[in-house]
C-alpha cells in the first residue's frame, strides 16, 4: 500500500513580514494594536548599522495568553533556585513554592563543596493559611526558618515573598535579621512579590541586589590560578555549566564562581577576587556585574557559549583580555583540538538541515544565542523574540541612556553602590581598557539580538499565543523554539517544537560537545517522519477504501 504523501508545507513565495504584522495587529482593539505595534518590529538597518527601536518590558495585556512568569519566578526560580546550599523558603501560600520546585532542570554537583549540601530537591514553604493572612505571617516565617535550621543545618537561608505577603505587610527583612542574629548563619530576604514589575525580569534584578548586598564580598580568600573569572548568567540547564567548566579547565582558566549554575553560596561570597566577569545571559545578571565593577573594580565582558563558533570566539575574548601569550596559545590549542569533532558532525548533519527555518521565542538571551547554533546548521531564523527582555537586549546597550523608566520598573530598587574603600582594585587601567577596545574587545558591551538578525526578519517581544499561531499557520517553520507552555500547542500544528528553557529531556547544548548534541537533536526533529502519518491512508486517499470495498 502506498504511504500517504508528505503533507504540503506552505512555502511562502515571498516572505512578507509587513503583511504578517498587519494581520497580527488587525485582531486587536485599536489601543492594544498600538501597543503591540511597538513590540512587533521588522528588522532593518540604518545607515550606520543601527536597528529600529522596540518597546519591550511593558505590561502584558490582560487576557492575552502569553509566556511570562512573575517577579517571584525570576528571583527564586531563576537566579537563586540553582544554588544548592542555600535553603530557599517561599513565604506564602503553597502553590508558588510548589510550582517552582525543581522544574527548571538545573543540574548541580554537590560533591564539589565539602559539606555536600544540596537542597535543590527540596521545596520549603510557610504554606500560609487564613490565620496568617488575617493576623500576619511573621511568626510562622520565623518558625519555618528555625525548623529549616534545626533539620538541615544549612550555611544560609533565603526567604522569598509571594504576592499576599506584601499586601498583608509582613516585614520579612526584620524577621531575617533577627533570625540571622539568633542562628549565627546568613539569613536574608527578597521582597519579590509576583505583582512587581512586568515579568520575571523584576525578580532577576531583586535577586541580583540581594545576593550582592548580603553575600558577595564576604570572603576574601585568594586562589591560585592566573586567569580567574566568574561565569554570570549561566544556569546549568541540562549540564551546560559542566561542559563550559570542562573547557575552562582545559584552557587553564580558573572559575571562581558561577551565578548560578552549579553554584554554592561560598563561591558567591568570594566572587570579588576574580579578575573578570563573563556574562552569558545579560538580562538576568548584568546588575551584579555592574555593581561588582563599581565596588571592586572587576570589569565584565559579554560572552556566549552557545554555538561552537561562539564558544571559540568567547574563549579568544577571554584570552585577549588577559593578554597573556601562554593563555592565547592554550586557547588556540584547545579550539584546534575540539573543532574537528564539531566539524565532522556539522558535515554529516548539515545536508539535512540546510535551508530549514526556525523561530525562537524564549527568555532574555536564548532567543539570541541559539541563532548561532541554527546558523551553524545552515538554518535561517525567520522570527525571534524575548519573553522578558529590555531594549538593551534587543538593540544593544548603546540605547541604555534613552530607555524611559516606567512606573513598573521604577519600583524596583537601584542600589547605590560605591567603590569599596579597601577592596576596590581596578583590574585594568583606563588606558588598557581603551587599548583593548581599539583591538576590538569592548568592556561592558552587549550589542543585542537585532543587529545579528537578518534584515526583514520579524522581532516580536512578549509574543502572544494568537500571534504565534498566526506565524505558524502562515510560515510553517521547520522548528519552533520556546517553553513548555507553547510546546504542545505548536506540536499539535504539526511543527516540531524544541524547549529552550528546560531543553526537553536533553542537553548540554553549550560549548563544543553541547553544539554536537544540539545538531543531532535538531536533525532528529526537523527530519522526523511522524508528521506525514497524521492522516491515515484512507483519509488521504478515499479512493483506496473504495477500492477495497469493491474487491
Amino acid at each position: 500500500m502506498a504511504l500517504p504523501e508528505e503533507n504540503n508545507k506552505f512555502e511562502p513565495d515571498e516572505y512578507n513580514p509587513e503583511e504578517m504584522k498587519e494581520e497580527m495587529l488587525l485582531q486587536y482593539p485599536p489601543k492594544v494594536a498600538r501597543k503591540r505595534a511597538k513590540q512587533i518590529v521588522i528588522n532593518k538597518f540604518g545607515s550606520d548599522g543601527e536597528v529600529g527601536d522596540i518597546s519591550p518590558n511593558v505590561r502584558t495585556v490582560p487576557g492575552l495568553i502569553g509566556q511570562r512568569g512573575c517577579c517571584y519566578a525570576g528571583c527564586k526560580g531563576v537566579v537563586l533556585g540553582p544554588t544548592r546550599d542555600i535553603i530557599n523558603i517561599t513565604h506564602g501560600p503553597i502553590g508558588c513554592g510548589f510550582y517552582s520546585w525543581l522544574t527548571r532542570r538545573n543540574q548541580t554537583d554537590a560533591s564539589t563543596t565539602p559539606d555536600n549540601h544540596n537542597f535543590m530537591t527540596y521545596c520549603f514553604s510557610t504554606d500560609m493559611q487564613d490565620e496568617q493572612i488575617i493576623f500576619g505571617g511573621e511568626k510562622k516565617l520565623a518558625l519555618a526558618i528555625q525548623e529549616a535550621y534545626d533539620n538541615f543545618h544549612p550555611k544560609a537561608i533565603a526567604v522569598f515573598s509571594t504576592c499576599p505577603v506584601g499586601l498583608i505587610g509582613d516585614d520579612i527583612h526584620t524577621v531575617c535579621r533577627n533570625m540571622k542574629e539568633k542562628l549565627g548563619i546568613n539569613v536574608f530576604g527578597f521582597s519579590c512579590e509576583g505583582y512587581k514589575g512586568v515579568s520575571q525580569s523584576a525578580g532577576h534584578h531583586i535577586a541580583n541586589n540581594g545576593i550582592f548586598t548580603h553575600v558577595v564580598g564576604t570572603d576574601d580568600t585568594e586562589h591560585d590560578g592566573k586567569y580567574k573569572i566568574n561565569l554570570l548568567g549561566e544556569y546549568n540547564i541540562g549540564g551546560d555549566a559542566f561542559e563550559i567548566e570542562r573547557i575552562f579547565n582545559k584552557c587553564g582558566i580558573t572559575q571562581v564562581s558561577s551565578f548560578s549554575g552549579n553554584s554554592s553560596i561560598d563561591k558567591f561570597a568570594n566572587a570579588h577576587v576574580a579578575d573578570l566577569n563573563l556574562i552569558m545571559c545579560h538580562r538576568s545578571i548584568n546588575y551584579v556585574a555592574e555593581m561588582m565593577e563599581t565596588k571592586y573594580g572587576l570589569p565584565w565582558i559579554k560572552i556566549n557559549f552557545i554555538g561552537a563558533n561562539a564558544t571559540a570566539k568567547s574563549l579568544r575574548k577571554i584570552a585577549q583580555y588577559f593578554g597573556d601569550e601562554e593563555l592565547i596559545a592554550k586557547v588556540e590549542e584547545v579550539i584546534a583540538e575540539e573543532m574537528p569533532a564539531v566539524k565532522q558532525s556539522i558535515e554529516e548533519v548539515r545536508p539535512r538541515t540546510e535551508g530549514k527555518r526556525a523561530m525562537l521565542f524564549v527568555g532574555g538571551s536564548r532567543a539570541h544565542h541559539y541563532q548561532e547554533l541554527f546558523a551553524e546548521l545552515g538554518m535561517k531564523t525567520l522570527s525571534a523574540g524575548y519573553e522578558f527582555a529590555h531594549r538593551d537586549d534587543y538593540e544593544g546597550r548603546r540605547v541604555l541612556p534613552d530607555i524611559k523608566v516606567d512606573a513598573d520598573s521604577r519600583n524596583i530598587e537601584e542600589l547605590d553602590v560605591k567603590p569599596d574603600p579597601l577592596k576596590y582594585n581596578p583590574r585594568k587601567s583606563e588606558a588598557e581598557i581603551a587599548k583593548l577596545a581599539e583591538a576590538g574587545l569592548k568592556m561592558s558591551e552587549y550589542e543585542g539580538m537585532m543587529p545579528d538578525m537578518d534584515s526583514g526578519s520579524m522581532v516580536i517581544d512578549d509574543i502572544s499565543q494568537r500571534e504565534s499561531e498566526l506565524l505558524i499557520e502562515s510560515f510553517k517553520p521547520d522548528i519552533y523554539c520556546a517553553g513548555i507552555k507553547e510546546k504542545y500547542t505548536v506540536q499539535k500544528n504539526g511543527i516540531p517544537m524544541k524547549q529552550l528553557h528546560s531543553y526537553d529531556y536533553g542537553g548540554p547544548y553549550a560549548g563544543f560537545k553541547g553544539a554536537v548534541n544540539f545538531y543531532n537533536e535538531i536533525d532528529r526533529m526537523v527530519n522526523s517522519k511522524i508528521w506525514k502519518y497524521l492522516k491515515a491512508p484512507w483519509q488521504a486517499h478515499p479512493e483506496l477504501a473504495a477500492a477495497y470495498a469493491s474487491d
Binding site: 492575552l64 512573575c70 510548589f98 514553604s125 494568537r466
Partner: protein
C-alpha cells in the same frame, strides 16, 4: 517523631486555583481565567502541561503593583473581553488567586458591572458564559478548588427545570483515561449520562492537522444546563461526603437523587458503583464488565504469592488515597501509611471504613508533607510507594519502587492515560504493582533469574 512542623517541606498538595482550572478545562469551549498576577497562571499552565503533555491555556488579568493596591476590576474586565474576542470562548471560568482574595476584589459584582457595561457583547449568540469561583489557597488544596469549581459550574449553569432520563456523573479529579472508561460504562448500561467535568479529550487529544484555538472535548454546556432534570447523580469521593457538593446542590435545588460513592478504585468500591449503575439503569451489568471483574479476581489469586506481606505507603489526594487503600487491602498488600496533604478531617474515618477486617491498620496522616512522610517511611520500611511523581526522591533515597498514579506525573510519559477506575482500572493497577514488586526482587537478586 514530631507531628507538628509548622512549615511545609516538599508539599503533598497543590494550590486551590489549579484544581479549579482543571475542572473548567473539562467544559466544552471553556477557557480558565485566573484573576491575579500572571505568575500563577504561568506556573499552573506549566504544571498541568507537564503532566498531560497537552496544550493548556489559562488566561490572566495580569495584575501589577498598582492594581494590587487599588483593585483589579479594570484588568479583569479587559481580560474577559480579550478572551471573548480573541479565543471565541463559550465559557470563561474565572478563579481568584491569593492576591485578589487578599485585596478582597469582589468578582461577582465586577462581572455584573461588566455585563452592564458591555451589553453588546452579551447580546450576541456567541457571548460567553461567565462562571466564577473563589479559590484562596490559604484555605484548602487543589482538590477543594476542583470540587468548588464543579459546584459553581452546576450552581451557575444548571438552570433548566424538568425531568429527563439522563444521569449525572461527577467523578472528581480523575484521568482522561478514567473518564473515557466511565463514558463507555454509561453507554454499556444504556444510560444517557453527563460526565462533569470531562477532560477525556480536552486534556488528551489527538495530533491534528489543523489548529484549534480551544481544544475539542469537554462537557457540553447544553448538558450542564439540564443537569437539574436528571434522574440521579452519582458523585465520587468519600472525603467530600456530607459537604455541600455539586451533587448535593442538584439534590436540594432540583430534587435529583444523589448517590455518594467512594472513588471506584479496586474491587469493592467498584462493586458499589456497579450496583448503583444496575439500580439506576435497571439493567444487569453487561457481560463484558462481568468478565473483567472475573479476571480481576482471578489475578488477585495469581498474584498473591508475589505480594503477600508486602507493605505499601500510599499518598496523594485524599479520595484517591482512600480508593487505593481499599484496593491494596483487598488484594493482600498491607497499607502501612495513608498520607495526604489535604485536610478534610475525614481521611481517618474513611480509611478505617475501607480497611475493615485488616489485622494491622495503617497509620493515617492528613495535612502532611513529604518531610513527614519521609520520617514515617524511614521507620516503616515499606516495600512500595504508591502516589504521584513527587514521592520520587523518597523512593530513590530508600531504594523503594514507586508506582506512579494520580497527579502530577511528570517524570514518566502517559500520566493522562493511567486508568485507575473500575474493574479494568484495578486490573491495570494490579499488573503494574505486582510487576514492580517482582522486578525489584529480580533486580535485587545477584543470580539473574528470568523465571519468577
Amino acid at each position: 517523631m514530631s507531628d507538628d512542623y509548622t512549615s511545609t517541606t516538599n508539599a503533598c498538595k497543590l494550590c486551590k486555583p489549579i484544581g479549579a482550572c482543571l475542572a473548567f478545562k473539562g467544559v466544552e469551549g471553556a477557557v480558565p481565567f485566573l484573576h491575579g498576577s500572571q505568575g500563577c497562571a504561568t506556573y499552573m499552565r506549566r504544571y498541568i502541561i507537564s503532566h498531560f503533555r497537552e496544550p493548556m491555556d489559562i488566561a490572566s488579568s495580569s495584575l501589577g503593583e498598582k492594581n494590587a493596591i487599588f483593585g483589579g476590576g479594570a484588568n479583569l474586565k479587559q481580560g474577559i473581553k480579550n478572551v471573548t474576542t480573541k479565543y471565541g470562548a463559550k465559557m470563561i471560568g474565572i478563579a481568584t488567586t491569593c492576591l485578589t482574595e487578599t485585596i478582597g476584589d469582589d468578582v461577582p459584582s465586577i462581572i455584573k458591572q461588566f455585563r452592564d457595561e458591555e451589553k453588546a457583547l452579551f447580546e450576541s449568540d456567541n457571548s460567553p458564559l461567565l462562571v466564577n469561583v473563589s479559590t484562596p489557597s490559604y484555605g484548602g488544596t487543589h482538590m477543594e478548588g476542583f470540587h468548588d469549581a464543579v459546584k459553581v459550574l452546576v450552581d451557575q449553569i444548571a438552570t433548566e427545570y424538568g425531568k429527563d432520563e439522563s444521569i449525572n456523573l461527577l467523578p472528581g479529579f480523575v484521568s482522561p483515561a478514567d473518564i473515557r472508561y466511565l463514558k463507555e460504562l454509561l453507554s454499556d448500561f444504556n444510560l444517557e449520562g453527563v460526565v462533569l467535568p470531562d477532560i477525556s479529550e480536552s486534556l488528551d487529544g489527538p495530533a491534528l492537522l489543523d489548529y484549534q484555538k480551544i481544544s475539542e472535548g469537554g462537557t457540553p454546556l447544553s448538558k450542564i444546563r439540564s443537569m437539574g432534570k436528571a434522574r440521579a447523580t452519582i458523585e465520587f469521593g468519600r472525603t467530600i461526603f456530607g459537604n455541600l457538593t455539586a451533587g448535593k446542590l442538584l439534590d436540594s435545588r432540583f430534587g435529583v437523587k444523589n448517590y455518594s460513592l467512594g472513588m471506584p478504585v479496586g474491587l469493592r468500591e467498584s462493586d458499589e458503583f456497579f450496583s448503583v449503575l444496575e439500580e439506576i439503569s435497571g439493567c444487569k451489568s453487561p457481560e463484558k464488565h462481568v468478565l473483567e471483574r472475573g479476571r480481576l479476581i482471578d489475578s488477585f489469586v495469581d498474584s498473591h504469592k508475589y505480594i503477600f506481606g508486602c507493605k505499601a505507603v500510599v499518598y496523594g489526594e485524599e479520595d484517591l488515597v482512600v480508593g487505593l487503600t481499599s484496593f491494596l487491602a483487598e488484594m493482600g498488600v498491607q497499607p502501612v501509611l495513608c498520607a495526604s496533604g489535604g485536610k478534610s478531617k475525614k481521611l481517618n474515618k474513611e480509611i478505617t471504613a475501607v480497611t475493615k477486617g485488616l489485622v494491622d491498620l495503617p497509620i493515617v496522616r492528613d495535612g502532611v508533607d513529604f518531610y513527614d512522610i519521609g520520617e514515617e517511611v524511614a521507620e516503616l520500611k515499606p516495600d512500595l510507594l504508591i502516589g504521584h511523581s513527587k514521592g520520587y526522591s523518597l523512593a530513590k533515597k530508600y531504594g523503594i519502587p514507586l508506582m506512579r498514579v494520580g497527579f502530577p506525573i511528570h517524570d514518566r510519559i502517559g500520566g493522562q492515560r493511567v486508568l485507575h477506575l473500575g474493574y479494568r482500572g484495578a486490573q491495570a493497577l494490579l499488573d503494574d504493582l505486582v510487576n514492580l514488586v517482582i522486578e525489584k526482587k529480580q533486580n535485587d537478586s545477584p543470580v539473574g533469574y528470568s523465571y519468577m
